[in-house]
């Protein structure tokens, strides 16, 4: 490296050093919550995970693993044997290994378990390099509905859901044996009938920049998403109609978000959970991390009830709250578990989702209304977990999360090497600079509430 080049990089090295100095050490009064973690097979490959995590009824844990620009996979973790395996490359499973088109790089959907124990998920695209050409031959063929049968240990491709579109999120109505999906970029609402294998396209429900990241189903099989400024739409399968409702998530006015760019400040719910009887839905609102209880049976459009703000304690009641993550679930102890994005000190509020230097675990007891910030998440060797973006609770009470664990320099993937996901990420150079020097591995985090107590 020439002297000139060394001088050019100096400001970013200094910034990185400052960030590390300010972020990594904990204050004396900082609470810590400890979790176990497991790396995935080929740990240097997987760069991200969104939503796709399921602790299935047989105890096994299914994880969608993304690889921008290449093939995604699904990992299966068996806690009985403490072993992990991969279900295969989604490009191969979709029959598109040699297509030379935008690959099946993500399993971005919620992972759902059918009444017969089969595991459903969908595939998605990654670096959306050519928005304008998404429907062209070199664009994206379309996300596939997929099913894994644990009895035969086989993945079956159920076909493309909607050409040129990825499956951004998905949910299941086990009663009617239907999958419901939302596509990106065209935001179409899809219905997949498992019995007939038929997909029905119900049309566009949102703009491309504000597509609901999760969908909810109530006990009457009605499906909910957001259509704008936190208002719900509702698909009623009996009437086969999507209605834009006026009922709205409690939220504050659009402001300057923390760890989220202004052009991505969709007002919606980031994550959902259900009451044990599925009669009530719990939404995690994006802008303020409000926990909202929705009773779909009260009145013609249901009723929203703000239970509280479940951001990390350091943000409670403040204006600048980190944008909500998807790592949110209800445990069998009737508690909400939320691994939220958090800073530690006065870090630079960068505009990228999950961009803080830490994450915290917050619980909310639905029975008592008590919120508790259990502290900053640390795994083995005091390593910090960041960017948690999925959660699922097992029947035995264990809560699983997927997060990026910050590795010592040179021992993980480069965080600055992640490509821009969205066409509107106008300055990927800035993103690279912010994360320069940071390395991580994507890991499964295991939290046992009973053991922690």
């Amino acid at each position: 490296m020439s002297p000139r080049n060394r001088r050019d990089h100096r400001p970013w090295l200094i910034l990185s050093a400052l960030l590390l100095l300010s972020g990594a050490p904990l204050g004396a009064d900082q609470k810590i919550v400890r979790m176990e973690s497991r790396m995935f097979p080929n740990p240097m490959v997987w760069d991200s995970n969104y939503t796709a995590l399921l602790a299935a009824s047989d105890g096994r844990v299914y994880v969608g693993l993304n690889q921008h620009g290449a093939g995604a996979s699904v990992a299966v973790y068996d806690p009985k044997t403490d072993t992990m395996k991969l279900l295969g490359d989604m490009n191969h499973l979709a029959g598109e290994a040699n297509l030379n088109a935008e690959p099946q790089a993500k399993v971005h959907t919620q992972i759902c378990e059918g009444p017969d124990g089969r595991i459903y998920f969908g595939t998605h695209l990654s670096a959306f390099f050519g928005f304008a050409t998404f429907s062209k031959p070199d664009g994206y063929p379309g996300g596939h509905w997929m099913v894994y049968d644990p009895r035969t240990d086989a993945v079956t491709d159920l076909g493309i859901a909607l050409p040129s579109n990825g499956l951004l999120t998905m949910t299941m109505d086990p009663k009617r044996e239907r999958l419901y999906g939302l596509t990106y970029p065209q935001a179409h609402f899809l219905v997949y009938d498992i019995r007939t294998g038929r997909t029905t396209d119900k049309g566009q429900v949102q703009n491309w920049d504000a597509i609901s990241r999760t969908l909810a189903v109530d006990d009457w099989s009605r499906v909910y998403g957001c259509w704008g400024r936190g208002k719900l739409y509702r698909y009623d399968p009996d009437r086969d109609i999507i209605e834009n409702l006026q009922v709205q998530l409690p939220q504050r006015e659009v402001g300057v978000p923390v760890y989220r760019a202004y052009w991505e400040t969709e007002q919606t719910f980031t994550a959902v959970a259900h009451s044990a009887d599925h009669k009530k839905i719990y939404f995690l609102e994006t802008g303020s991390s409000y926990l909202v209880e929705y009773d779909p049976h009260k009145g013609p459009e249901g009723e929203m009830n703000l239970l509280g703000q479940i951001s990390a304690e350091r943000y409670a009641g403040k204006r600048d709250v980190p944008y909500a993550m998807i790592s949110f679930c209800r445990g069998p102890d009737n508690k909400i578990y939320y691994a939220c994005n958090s800073g530690l000190a006065d870090e630079e509020g960068n505009p990228y989702w999950g961009g803080g230097q830490a994450s915290s675990l917050v619980t909310y007891d639905l029975s008592t209304g008590r919120k508790e910030d259990l502290g900053v998440i640390r795994v083995e060797n005091e390593l910090a977990a960041m960017h948690p973006n999925s959660a699922s609770a097992a029947a035995d009470g264990t809560v699983y999360f997927i997060a990026r664990v910050i590795e010592p320099a040179g021992q993980g993937r480069s965080a600055s090497g992640l490509p821009a996901d969205l066409v509107l990420e106008k300055d990927p150079v800035h993103k690279k600079q912010i994360y320069e020097g940071e390395t991580y591995t994507l890991r499964l985090l295991i939290y046992k509430p009973a053991k922690a107590r």
Binding site: G203, Q204, D209, W227, N244, V254, W263, T265, K426
Partner: protein, 408 residues
């Protein structure tokens, strides 16, 4: 490094670097300041709802206002008064699912409407069984007359939003052709001229007598893979009052009002891709300030047509996709258009008539984040307003009206 070398290096860098990151939006919307949108009504409640809002007809009335017709579960009519600048929903048209390219203004200010079964021009969401809906239960598309003057005079201050209201002051003029949808309607010379689906009939409605004259099928039988067959989605009237359209194999026909005859021109065919000649149909027409006729085809070609010497000049294909779904002239004489197939993203373009060249105007993307933002994937109609504003109707499930302010 010497100063001169630094200057040279900087100049070379500037020359080679291309667009700056801050200009990235120009990749897909070439001039975002010149494009805006309106919701179809007054949110949150007085709004033409999704599944009923696809804007499939736009026309400028004699009063200078913009009128729009929608398609979906129900068809709606709306108006935009340029003095207000926002969409006022006039109500739904009882019993109608679609107003497809079928709004026609009359000199007395009234707006004529032709109705149809929705999805007549493309495979339905539930498969290709829509032709089954053309049974004895479907009486046929109606012709209606809407009186804007009466509506405006009697419009009351709305006490509470009623998005389910029907359009007032609409007179049903009856079914044009029994069992047939109306899929194209224009006016001129005290008559309405229309096309029907699936039979491809050309008809004339005499505004003085209120009688329909069915000129019979002019388009042959539908093709299996193209539900619209060779039925044109647009008609145009020339300076001599002749009405032009396209039929089988993209061949032009015209209606001669003097003789009441349809004349076919089998050797005057629309431009098309090689091997797809049999599928070519006209999607849109626009008449320029000098009376010249321009058209767009299902294969995405633009052509200029001279009705006097029957010459068709193929002006090429401004977009990669098929379908030119809307054309309109700006005040300064440039031809603007919108096109694109279902499942892709609509594209805007402009044909600079003075120089004969195309420019891409990007996608229909309005981004006023954090206040509002929307990218339209499909648009089915386009018309020029009296002040030069171009109106573009989105035709997705959740649709908007786009306003384009042309630039040179």
């Amino acid at each position: 490094m010497k100063p001169a070398m630094i200057v040279l290096a900087a100049a070379a860098l500037l020359a080679s670097s291309g667009p700056l990151a801050a200009q990235e939006t120009s990749v897909y919307t070439s001039n975002p300041l010149r494009l805006d949108l309106r919701p179809l009504g007054h949110p949150p409640l007085d709004l033409i709802p999704p599944d009923e809002s696809a804007v499939t007809s736009l026309v400028i009335g004699a009063d200078g206002r913009l009128y729009g017709g929608t398609s979906g579960r129900r068809a709606h009519l709306f108006v935009l008064d340029p003095k207000w600048g926002h969409v006022f929903p006039l109500g739904h048209i009882p019993g109608a699912e679609s107003v497809f390219h079928s709004l026609a203004p009359a000199p007395d200010g009234s707006i004529y409407i032709g109705t149809s079964i929705n999805n007549q021009g493309r495979p339905g969401d539930k498969g290709r069984d829509f032709l089954g809906r053309y049974s004895k239960d479907f009486p046929g598309g109606h012709l209606l007359r809407f009186d804007p003057d009466q509506e405006l005079k009697s419009r009351k201050r709305m006490q509470r939003p009623d998005p389910g209201r029907p359009v007032p002051f609409v007179k049903d003029l009856g079914v044009a052709i029994p069992g047939e949808s109306i899929v194209c309607l224009i006016s001129g010379g005290e008559a309405l001229y229309g096309m029907t689906f699936p039979g491809g009939h050309f008809f004339v409605f005499d505004l003085r007598t209120g009688k329909v004259s069915d000129k019979g099928g002019v388009c042959g039988s539908p093709l299996n893979e193209e539900p619209f067959g060779s039925i044109p989605r647009a008609l145009v009237r020339d300076s001599k009052g002749r009405v032009w359209g396209s039929g089988d194999y993209g061949a032009l026909f015209h209606f001669e009002p003097g003789t009441g005859q349809v004349v076919h021109h089998p050797d005057r065919r629309l431009p098309s891709e090689l091997g797809r000649e049999y599928k070519a149909i006209v999607d849109a027409f626009a008449v320029g300030p000098d009376g010249s006729i321009f058209g767009g085809t299902s294969d995405g070609f633009i052509f200029r047509f001279d009705p006097e010497n029957l010459k068709i000049a193929n002006l090429g294909k401004p977009i990669m996709s098929y379908r030119i779904r809307g054309l309109a002239f700006s005040g300064d004489g440039d031809l603007w258009g919108v096109g694109g197939e279902p499942g892709a993203a609509a594209r805007l373009f402009v044909y600079r008539t003075a120089t004969g060249g195309y420019e891409s105007a990007g996608m229909l993307h309005v981004n006023r984040t954090p206040y509002y933002a929307w990218l339209a994937y499909e648009a089915e109609s386009m018309v020029a307003g009296p002040d030069g504003t171009l109106f573009i109707g989105e035709s997705n499930r959740t649709a908007h009206l786009y306003l384009l302010f042309p630039w040179r």
